[in-house]
Symmetry: none
Subunit: 222 residues, 4 copies
DNA sequence: TATGAATGAGCATTCATTCAT
DNA sequence: AATGAATGAATGCTCATTCAT
């Protein structure tokens, strides 16, 4: 029943069937190698794996960084979404939080490039990756107000995720489930029955155990 | 002409005075740049900074990796020692643990190469680095038996350290003290008042929140 | 539905309407960018600017060089024509010559591709570009017999044009009018009051100042 | 008689015999290919021709541009010097000027990279190449005050050189001596017997033959 | 036939490692 | 033994030309 095709259709000869296929192949291949080897991979490897020439790859992604960012954005989104879904039908707010972490750490923490870049996404506005997760966490955090220790912020949970994500990666090869225990411990520390306030958020008067002055660290010259 | 070589000859031909000095200079320089820039540094930079030629550097350390390992071994040791000392005159076992973590995270967590390689030291037998810390933690762990949640192992604490170390590094630039809160939370989760057992250590029957089957992670194809 | 194709079909299948339009668009676009950026431009740029696809462009001009030559041929013609017209209503033969140079240097000397390729057109029979100018100059030369120094040939004037064209381009950015003086000087050198004969045209017995043997040049090995 | 070697000698283990040889080989090879093919040559070609690896080439010249500039500087200097020497024992100031141009145009005008870059050296302070020639010309210009048309500047002569250099290059393949005539003409135009003043140096009130407004040039949109 | 996506050789540059001095 | 010059494979990226749709 479609009446005369909208103008745009006439102009933009839709069919980029193969182009789309290629783009997808590139992203797929990139996702794979970035997950496995991190952002240091040779672009040629991605091209080879996706079955396209260098030119094609660079037509779709003019800079390696563009491809990396595209993949990361997508994977962060997938990650956030899968973790969100895992939390959605939990019985109670606490279970939702638990399930979220579980899924998040199970799902993507072994993605080299993601873990590599999680750090950077704190500040890089191009990579809203972390924002996706922030949003999910924020909702969980709000929903868990009563069961969460007072003063715990979304950013605390986000950082916890980053932190545990690294633990997952570290132990992935030889102690694949060891992080379960760490998650357990951390979650327990987050419960409402800990009434002791957390150190100030932007502490200038730095909290330290028994006011010990930190000393003899490395890179003091900085 | 040479008369019977004196005993020393049998060993190795004494003149290692400068050789030792060189080796030390190399390691010192490497320590600095590895801490600052991670293992990606150009070997030339190390040679330049230590004032020796490339040849000398490669005589002492045939592969870049050898040098890196040497430095890491040493820095891990220093790290462990400084953290140990920080804990030694604590009032009670719990304070010792607290102080240990505090010092460890304050002191070396910004050492790029260390954090980069902490992961590897789990499995790499060449790098007993982590063992040094293990030893210290083991003692603290034993001493804190009563105040520590039952079932917490040395390895748990070690992994917690790795995990928090990453958090420190991630936030170092923009939120320098944010990890304090995470440490606080984690330590609280470690206390004896949490009587719930931790998930099994080498869980084959994997613990999971409400027996959820982990799904749709990345790199399943592996 | 198409009724029997009219005669034109035998010739070539009439529909060259758009083909011609395309060809024109391509040449127009190419003219612009070649003038602005020289022959190093990316062919894509030309395609984009002319609104046709790469395929179409390459259908009309199988090699980049073909397109360049077409454009140059055309621009040389336009150039020659505009310079001819500038000379046509001069008061006397000398003024005609002067006006010609003036117009030629003002008009096209900043056309990057033209200046770039002026050299080649001496020898390349495909590019009769220079011939167009030759024709014009020849007429001017003939008309100016009396006022021109004896022995000056059309080719001399042609080469002078090439030479000054380069000067125009060189100084275009920072000393836009500096070439005026050079033109003035050269024209004065062309006047009839210089009676000294010019060096032989195809001098084997090379003219040289005081028979100095040229020495130590570059590329002697060639 | 040399007393104790100066300190610097002790430190800087002089012998870079092969390094010097290599550097020379590189420059020599670069000189050759730059003269023949211009600055577009592949760096590999230079490396191959000089018999060194890429790394060696880049050790001596961290950027291609560095090598190019080094070669150009050297060749400009050689060029200026050879032209200066050619002028030095001329009988009179005018002959000096003539000989200078002769030698300059005979010597290096076929050096592709030099001609390519002559233009740029007007503005690029890194390439004092042109300055060398300027200096020589300046002296000749001063010395020829009486025989040179009044108002002729060093820059006029410099531009004439650039301009004629291009003519030499253009005709090198098919009409190798044609530029002799042009030089003759130009020099005649420079003589003192032309008393008509040259157009203003920084003419705002642009000189033009019969005040013709320049029109219909290319690149008007600029 | 027109389109623009695909190709891949080619280019400047880096860096771990080897080797002549 | 020490030096630092030499090596060359590898990397990110470009662009004239071809080809599937």
């Amino acid at each position: 029943m479609a009446v005369a095709e909208p103008e745009s259709t006439r102009r933009r000869r839709a069919p980029r069937a193969d182009a789309i296929r290629n783009q997808e192949a590139i992203v797929e291949a990139a996702t794979k190698v970035l997950a496995e080897q991190g952002t240091a991979v040779d672009v040629r490897e991605i091209a080879r794996l996706s079955g396209v020439g260098m030119g094609t790859l660079y037509r779709h992604f003019p800079k390696k960084e563009d491809l990396v960012k595209t993949v990361l954005r997508q994977d962060f989104t997938k990650w956030a979404e899968s973790a969100r879904l895992a939390a959605i039908d939990a019985e109670d707010p606490w279970a939702a939080l638990t399930d979220f972490f579980w899924q998040a750490l199970t799902g993507y923490a072994r993605h080299r490039a993601i873990v590599e870049n999680f750090a950077l996404t704190w500040s890089d506005p191009d990579l809203e990756g972390i924002q996706q997760l922030r949003l999910v966490i924020e909702r969980l955090c709000d929903g868990a107000k009563g069961v969460l220790r007072p003063g715990v912020t979304t950013d605390d949970l986000l950082l916890l995720l980053v932190s545990l994500g690294h633990a997952v990666q570290v132990t992935d090869d030889c102690r694949p489930q060891m992080w379960h225990r760490l998650l357990h411990i951390s979650l327990d520390g987050l419960r409402a029955d800990h009434r002791e306030p957390l150190p100030a958020r932007h502490s200038t008067g730095t909290w330290s155990p028994r006011s010990r002055t930190p000393s003899s660290g490395c890179r003091e010259t900085r």
